[in-house]
């Protein structure tokens, strides 16, 4: 049971507090309502580049990290297609330091040319290190535009290509800040061994005078339903062929999210799962194969990805995956199979809630999705999924007109 207290400042900033008396560490998490989905197609990678710039100094404070380290604190951030999230952990007696630092960079960034130049290079290196210089690193750069034709989910958070980041100007950066980084577009969650009154006072003191600049009321048209099967094959310098199959499904807060999550576990979680048993063990078609859901806030994907064993054709791989999906669509699930994945979920949830940071982040996410009341309803939602739900989901989702497939043909010759 995650407990919390909530209030709102006059400028629109939502503040939440989650008490935890068992730890000496406090967490301050700020979630901004901006992600890659808010970029324009000719200027992608901005939300993420901007996340880097947020650490480059603010109006009154030259360095974000330095004063935080002096207070025994640590910080990090991440960006995805939906949101940008910043978090600080530090000894609870130094809570005010976090408020001072976070509020100043919400107020105004330093916008130095040096910061932009350096972070541009850093992000370009990140692009290379994670997406271009790794085997199968650019898969999502290829798969996204295959699935999404109009929706901003069609480009990856890192950006469509390196050039957009190379061409980013200081004006672009300033515009982005003033448009999205404001109190009425953010949620701050504090967790730790303190009290609500302290948090309210600190929030009022440090964030109270930051002007509202307008909530991000995005109106992104839905990606139309897919009506035809899509495929793309590319060659890459990789040792084994790989396949990625993506089906459209409901977004994070739909019933489908929970059903799909359990369905993906039934298919591929663990050695006793259907994919492992049939596709790896029995038929020896794949060296690895997994099913998972993406949980996007505006649209979801059910993804199957795998590395083919040598000598196995893409046709065979696709056919055999289909067979398994049709088994799920056509036959009633064994009760034990469903109990198994639910029990694993329960265990995972207990371990995950041990972390104060996880609890605090979840509060932020649920509040931002306007679903705060649902935060303690997760277990119930998973428990409510029955065999018929899984079967119906499979029947609806696993159809050819809902499928986009990316095939990576390996170019590396084996040493015999």
């Amino acid at each position: 049971m995650i407990t919390f207290e909530k209030f709102k400042l006059a400028n629109g900033l939502t503040v939440l507090f989650h008490q935890d008396k068992t730890t000496p560490i406090a967490v301050v998490n700020i979630l901004y309502n901006v992600g890659a989905r808010d970029e324009s197609e000719d200027k992608t990678g901005f939300a993420h580049l901007f996340e880097h710039l947020m650490f480059g100094g603010s109006k009154n404070i030259e360095s974000f990290d330095g004063p935080l380290q002096s207070a025994g604190g640590e910080c990090n951030a991440f960006t995805n297609n939906d949101i940008t999230n910043y978090y600080v952990t530090l000894p609870v007696q130094n809570l005010e330091t976090a408020f001072w630092l976070e509020s100043d960079r919400m107020l105004e960034l330093a916008f130095t040319p040096k910061s932009l130049d350096v972070q541009r290079s850093v992000v370009i290196e990140e692009f290379k290190q994670r997406y271009l210089n790794q085997p199968y690193g650019d898969v999502w750069l290829l798969l996204r535009p295959l699935i999404y034709k109009t929706h901003p989910y069609k480009w990856a958070t890192i950006g469509k290509n390196i050039e957009h980041i190379e061409q980013a100007t200081m004006d672009n950066v300033r515009d982005f800040f003033y448009k999205f980084y404001c109190p009425d577009n953010a949620v701050i969650v504090v967790g730790g061994n303190t009290n609500f009154e302290t948090v309210q006072n600190l929030a009022e003191k440090w964030f109270g005078d930051i002007p509202a600049r307008g909530k991000n009321n995005r109106q992104i048209p839905e990606e139309p339903k897919q009506t035809e099967e899509r495929e793309l094959m590319v060659e890459r310098d990789v040792p084994s062929d790989a396949i990625y199959m993506a089906y459209r499904m409901g977004h994070r807060m739909t019933a489908e999210h929970y059903i799909g999550d359990l369905a993906s576990d039934i298919l591929s979680r663990g050695k006793a799962s259907r994919f492992h048993d049939q596709l790896i063990s029995e038929k020896k078609l794949f060296s690895s194969v997994s099913a998972y859901i993406t949980g996007g806030w505006e649209d979801g994907l059910f993804v199957i990805s795998g590395n083919l064993n040598a000598g196995v054709s893409f046709e065979t791989a696709k056919q055999e995956v289909w067979k398994e999906l049709m088994v799920m669509a056509d036959t009633t699930l064994d009760k034990d199979e469903l109990t198994k994945v639910k029990n694993k979920f329960k265990t995972g949830k207990v371990f995950s809630e041990q972390s104060l940071m996880n609890r605090v982040m979840n509060i932020a996410f649920f509040e931002m999705m306007n679903q705060l009341d649902e935060i303690n309803g997760e277990l119930e939602k998973y428990d409510a999924v029955d065999a018929k739900d899984i079967q119906d989901f499979a029947k609806k989702t696993f159809v050819k007109t809902n499928l986009s497939t990316l095939m990576i043909k390996g170019k590396i010759k084996e040493n015999k």
């Binding site: 068992t22 730890t23 000496p24 560490i25 009154n60 404070i61 990290d65 330095g66 004063p67 380290q69 002096s70 207070a71 025994g72 640590e74 910080c75 530090l90 000894p91 005010e96 408020f99 001072w100 107020l107 130049d117 350096v118 541009r120 290079s121 850093v122 370009i124 290196e125 990140e126 290379k128 290190q129 271009l132 210089n133 790794q134 085997p135 199968y136 310098d237 990789v238 040792p239 084994s240 050695k271 006793a272 048993d277 063990s281 020896k284 060296s287 690895s288 590395n307 064993n309 109990t339 198994k340 994945v341 029990n343 694993k344 329960k346 265990t347 995972g348 207990v350 041990q354 590396i412």
Partner: protein, 419 residues
């Protein structure tokens, strides 16, 4: 509203570390138990002294550890896995050069069942041909993919050069080693180490006495023995070793040397120096090579301590075109620490950061158990962590400069460049 002045802050206070209760099971098997857990979680770590250094043939220790639940004629790997899953259990295997371990995760209500299934399977493992071949295919495929990564190749070469390619810590496997592996090798290693030596157990969870009794019953089947291991002489290959990878767009770099054990008088000082150099986001290396030059997404340093040795290392991946420039800056930073005293402001900041880190790493029973394991495996004094805190407070810039001069000598460094 004065935003220019930092609010007052306090240095993180030390936390009293809670040590687990020790229970002697049978056959000399020790169980360390952290019982005060506020939720239903149970985590059991079983560690054997069965790391890769003990193997006489490459990959044997690794495959044996991974296949402990591969089953036998009566109960297959699939059945075992499905049953553990059914009770909401997770099994994680792990191997390093010194230890082979298994960690079980579950909730209190089902843990007795999870352990029963696990221990029965583990004690009656026959390494069936099917599971063995399957694991070989999977592992070889993963190996081929890893072999395309500059970071992976760099790490391997570094180990070879720091310890020597014939040293148990330095040996690396190649594709042929996967093909030459036999089931008999695994069975022999399993019999000698997993059935024939005693593990040590670390339990975090509010379990009932019946679970402890089950652990005791299991320990009756084990053997009160540990395998003697003769430390081998190591020979570092200093200087630069380069591997070209023409299609790479980044170069992986690793620089380092043999260091000291955790009970050495220089260890805490080296730890502090290492943090300043490359152990946190504001470090010398990060500030220069990432935040000033933009050469990389990440650069850092660390000290790795094994049972028989330890080493210091710096590692990064940088754009190919700035490879030489990066190396120049790395040595520049090492030299700076040998000639200039670290300014008081920076030293205080890093000390405060490290004290905060210590708090983060002592937060909760699971974290405290990890701290205890460090003391137990490295045979350290019980006062290790309070000594650490005292040392952090005490160590001066002069002392750090002396340590830098001792350890950051170019000609003693191993330098690996891949890409």
């Amino acid at each position: 509203m004065n935003r220019k002045t930092a609010p007052e802050f306090k240095q993180a206070e030390s936390l009293a570390l809670i040590f687990p209760e020790k229970i002697e099971l049978e056959n000399g098997v020790e169980l360390f138990w952290m019982k005060d857990v506020k939720d239903e979680s149970v985590k059991l770590d079983i560690e054997w002294f069965a790391g890769s250094k003990y193997q006489t043939k490459k990959l044997v220790a690794n495959f044996t550890n991974k296949l402990l639940l591969s089953g036998n004629g009566k109960r297959s790997a699939k059945t075992i896995s499905a049953e553990i899953d059914f009770y909401g259990g997770y099994v994680q295997d792990e191997l390093d050069k010194d230890h082979g371990s298994v960690t079980l995760y579950g909730l209190k209500e089902n843990f007795k069942k999870i352990f029963e299934i696990y221990s029965t399977a583990m004690m009656n493992c026959e390494f069936p041909k099917k599971e063995f071949e399957e694991e070989r295919t999977i592992a070889l495929s993963k190996f081929k993919i890893d072999a395309e990564k500059v970071k992976y190749l760099c790490q391997r070469k570094f180990n070879e050069c720091i310890f020597g390619e014939n040293h148990p810590y330095g040996k690396v496997a190649n594709e042929d080693d996967f093909l030459n592996l036999k089931r008999e090798d695994l069975k022999a290693f399993y019999t000698q180490f997993y059935l024939g030596t005693k593990p040590v157990l670390f339990l975090v969870g509010n379990v009932d006495d019946d679970v402890i009794e089950d652990l005791r019953t299991w320990s009756k089947k084990l053997t009160n023995k540990r395998v003697d291991f003769k430390k081998q002489k190591l020979v570092s290959k200093v200087g630069r070793t380069e591997i070209l990878k023409l299609d790479a767009i980044q170069t992986a770099i690793r620089i380092g040397r043999i260091a000291v054990d955790k009970d050495h008088k220089d260890y805490f000082g080296l730890q502090l120096l290492d943090t300043i150099l490359g152990g946190y986001f504001g470090s010398r290396l990060m500030a220069n090579i990432r935040e000033d030059k933009g050469y990389t997404y990440g650069i850092g340093s660390g000290i790795a301590v094994l049972e028989d040795s330890s080493y210091f290392f710096i590692s990064t991946e940088v754009g190919k075109e700035v490879k030489e420039a990066t190396l120049k800056e790395i040595y520049f930073e090492l030299d700076k620490l040998k000639t200039e005293l670290i300014p008081e402001e920076e030293l205080t900041r890093v000390k405060n950061y490290m004290l905060g880190e210590f708090l983060r790493h002592s937060d909760g029973p699971t974290a405290m158990m990890e701290s205890f394991k460090n003391i137990w495996f490295n045979k350290l004094k019980e006062t290790y962590y309070s000594d650490f805190i005292a040392a952090i407070h005490r160590i001066s810039a002069k002392e750090l400069r002396a340590i830098a001069n001792n350890y950051f000598v170019h000609k003693n460094m191993v330098e690996i460049v891949v890409g």
